[in-house]
C-alpha cells in the first residue's frame, strides 16, 4: 500500500495498538522549557517515578527569561523561580539543559533543529503547541499538555489517535517580498483556522522544494494556526545539507545509515491524502493580518474586509479602508516562527541604511544564541542598531509575554510571531502578523507598509 510521509514516521514509532484508534508511540526527543519543565520534573519525582530516558530529554530556558541586553535570567522574581527550578530539576534528573548564558540556549523550536536534536523521521514532543515546527525536517512533532509531559517523562511514550492526512501544495515561484510566512498566512486565510483540525498536514509543491530549511520551519510552525497539530515537509537534499555536522546529528557511518533510511521517508508517488489544497505561490502579495485570528489575513495592499465586527472593533479598524497606512507603535521581529538567520537577513536587507520611524519601538530578538552570533558575524546587529532597532537576547519575548515583556494596552504591533489573538501580546494589545521583511518595512514607515517598495 502506498504510504504518506506521515504514515511512515507514525508506523516507525508504534509500540502497541491500544484499540479504539489509539496507539502507544515511542518518543525519540522530548524538549522541556522553563514555563513548566522544572515543575514537571519535580512532579515526576514527587510521584515516586523516574525520568525513564533522560538522555532523550532536553531542556532550555526561553519563555520566562528576559530578552533585555545583559540579562542573566528572568527580569522578575516569579520568572527567576521558574528558571532556578528548571536548573535544579534538570540536574537532579540528569537532563541536558541549554542554560541562559550558554552557547546553545534559545527558543525550544529553534534549537531543536539547529542542534540536530530533531532529525528526519524522529518523533518529537514538547509542552508547546508550536512543536509542529520540527516537522520541517520530516520529523513527527506535536505539542502536548502538562499531564502528557509527565507521561512522556515517566514512560518515554505517548498515547495518540492517528489523524487524517492533508496535503497542501504551493506551486509556482515566490515573488519579490513574499516569503514562507506569507505562504502559510495565505493558506490559513484560505482554509480557515479550523480547516486543519484532525489532520496531519504535508506541505509540498515546487515552492516548498525551493524553500530553504528555515523557510520550511516557518511554514510548519503555523500548522497549529491551521488547526493541525502536525505539519511536515519531506526531507530532501536541502534537509541533509542543512543538518550535516550539527552537534547531535549522526556522524560518519551512522550518518550514511541514517541517510539511507531518511531517503525512504517521502510520501510514495501514489499515496493518497484525505484532503488536498493548492495555492499559487506565484500570485501572492505580502500578507498581513487585520483581525484577531491568523485566518484574518489579506494582501498588504488590500482593503480591510467587512467581516467580524468584534475583531475590527478590538483592532480599531474600519472595514473598506486600506490597512496600509495605519499608524503603528511597536515592531517585534522574533519568535519560533521567524527568528532564524534567514529571517534576520531578510529584515536587515530592508532596514540597511534606513531609520526606524521616531514613534516606533522596534525589537529584534534572535531565536537562539547560535542565531545571534551568526548574525553578528555578518554584521546584521550593526545594521539593526544603526537603523534604530533594539538588538536583544534570545527567547520567546513579545510573542507571548510570559516573561513580562508586553505590548501596551491599545498599542499596535506588527509582529513576526504566530498569534494575533485578543490579548496575546498583552491586555488590549493589537497584533498584526507578518513576515520579518514586512515587519521591518513597517518599522521604517511607522505604519503598515508594503515591503516591495523598500526592495530594489
Amino acid at each position: 500500500m502506498a504510504l504518506t510521509l506521515f504514515d511512515k514516521v507514525w508506523n516507525a514509532h508504534v509500540i502497541a495498538d491500544l484499540g479504539g484508534g489509539a496507539a502507544l508511540l515511542h518518543v525519540d526527543r522530548h524538549l522541556l522549557h522553563d514555563l513548566g519543565g522544572g515543575k514537571a520534573l519535580a512532579e515526576v519525582a514527587e510521584r515516586g517515578l523516574r525520568v525513564r530516558d533522560p538522555e532523550l530529554t532536553f531542556a532550555t530556558a526561553d519563555h520566562v527569561i528576559s530578552s533585555a541586553p545583559g540579562r542573566t535570567g528572568g527580569a522578575h522574581d516569579w520568572a527567576q523561580v521558574l528558571v532556578d527550578s528548571l536548573r535544579l530539576e534538570s540536574r537532579k534528573a540528569g537532563v541536558r539543559l541549554f542554560d541562559v548564558g550558554g552557547d546553545e540556549q534559545g527558543i525550544v523550536h529553534v534549537i531543536g533543529p539547529e542542534l540536530g536534536i530533531t532529525q528526519p523521521g524522529t518523533l518529537v514532543v514538547c509542552g508547546d503547541s508550536h512543536t509542529c515546527t520540527n516537522g520541517a525536517l520530516g520529523a513527527l512533532g506535536f505539542g502536548i499538555g502538562a499531564s502528557e509531559i509527565l507521561h512522556v517523562l515517566a514512560t518515554q511514550t505517548i498515547e495518540q489517535r492517528k489523524p487524517r492526512t492533508m496535503r497542501a501544495r504551493f506551486e509556482g515561484e515566490l515573488p519579490k517580498g513574499v516569503y514562507a510566512k506569507d505562504l502559510i498566512l495565505a493558506l490559513i486565510g484560505k482554509v480557515g483556522m479550523a480547516g486543519g483540525v484532525g489532520y496531519a498536514v504535508e506541505y509540498a509543491g515546487a515552492a516548498v522544494r525551493a524553500l530553504g530549511m528555515e523557510g520550511r520551519l516557518t511554514l510548519c510552525n503555523l500548522s497549529i494556526e491551521l488547526g493541525a497539530k502536525v505539519g511536515m515537509v519531506a526531507p530532501d537534499e536541502t534537509t541533509y545539507v542543512w543538518l550535516k555536522g550539527r552537534r547531535f546529528a549522526p556522524q560518519g557511518a551512522q550518518w550514511e545509515a541514517a541517510l539511507a533510511w531518511w531517503k525512504t521517508l517521502p510520501s510514495d508517488p501514489d499515496a493518497s491524502f484525505e484532503r488536498e489544497v493548492e495555492l499559487d505561490a506565484g500570485g501572492l502579495a505580502p500578507q498581513i493580518t487585520w483581525g484577531t485570528s491568523p485566518e484574518d489575513t489579506i494582501a498588504v495592499d488590500a482593503a480591510i474586509p467587512a467581516a467580524k465586527p468584534e475583531a475590527l472593533e478590538y483592532m480599531g479598524l474600519a472595514a473598506g479602508r486600506p490597512l496600509a497606512g495605519t499608524r503603528i507603535d511597536r515592531v517585534f521581529i522574533g519568535s519560533c516562527t521567524n527568528s532564524r538567520l534567514s529571517d534576520l537577513r531578510a529584515a536587515a536587507e530592508v532596514a540597511r541604511g534606513r531609520k526606524v520611524a521616531p514613534h516606533v519601538q522596534a525589537w529584534v530578538v534572535p531565536g537562539s544564541v547560535g542565531v545571534k552570533r551568526a548574525a553578528e558575524r555578518e554584521g546584521l546587529d550593526e545594521v539593526f542598531l544603526a537603523a534604530g532597532f533594539e538588538w536583544r537576547e534570545p527567547g520567546c519575548s513579545l510573542c507571548v509575554g510570559a516573561n513580562g515583556e508586553l505590548v501596551e494596552p491599545g498599542a499596535r504591533c506588527v509582529s513576526t510571531s504566530n498569534r494575533n489573538f485578543v490579548g496575546r501580546q498583552g491586555p488590549r494589545a493589537r497584533t498584526h502578523l507578518a513576515s520579518p521583511a514586512t515587519a521591518a518595512a513597517c518599522a521604517l514607515a511607522g505604519e503598515i507598509a508594503d515591503v516591495r517598495r523598500f526592495l530594489a
Binding site: L24, L82, G145, A154, R419
Partner: protein, 204 residues
Amino acid sequence: MEKFIVLDATAAALPTPDVDTDLIIRIERCVRTPRAEMGRWAFEMARYRADGSEDPGFALNQARFHGAQILVAAENFGCGSSREMAVWAIAGMGFRCVIAPSFGEIFYGNCFQNGVLAIRLPAQAVDGLLKTLGAASAPARIRVDLPAQVVTGPDGKTHRFDIDSLRKTALLEGLDAIGMTLTREAEITAWQATDRKRRPWVWL
C-alpha cells in the same frame, strides 16, 4: 482521576467560535496563579470589566448559567496554545463537560487528562443546544450519559456521541494514564532494544 459516569446538570452557552486558550486563561495566570485559583481567572479578559466587576455583556456571566457544570461552545473551542491550565481554569469554574462541534486538538486531549468529558456533536445539534440555552429564561439542564454515549438536551432531544473506547474506560473508571502505560514496561523496553539496532543513530 475523578470518575465520570452520568452528569445531569445546569448548562451554559458560549456561542463564540474559535475561543482560544489564551482567551480562556492568560499566560500570566499560567505562570503565577496556583491551580486551585485558576477558575476565578478563566476568560478574565471577557468576564471582568476594568474595575474588576463582572461584565454583564459576557455570555457566561448571565445569572441562569451560574453553577453550570456543562459548557456548550462553538466550533474550534480551545484552539491555540497547549496550556493545560485552560482545562484547569474551566474545571475550576465548575465545568465537567464541554460540548462543541469541534475542539482545538491539544485542548481536547487535555480535557480527558483531567476528568473533563469533551463531546463532539454535529454542528446542527450544537446550534440547537446553543439556541435553546440562549433563549431560556431560567437555568436549563442537560443530561450526559457516558455509558450510553447520549446527550439529552433541555428540550428532551437526544444526541448520540462518539468517544474512543480507551478514553471512555479511563473516564468511567477514573484510570491513571501513566499507571496504565507503566504496565507495558516490558513492551517499551523490547521496542527500544529493536529500535537501537534499526535506527542506532537516534540513540544518544
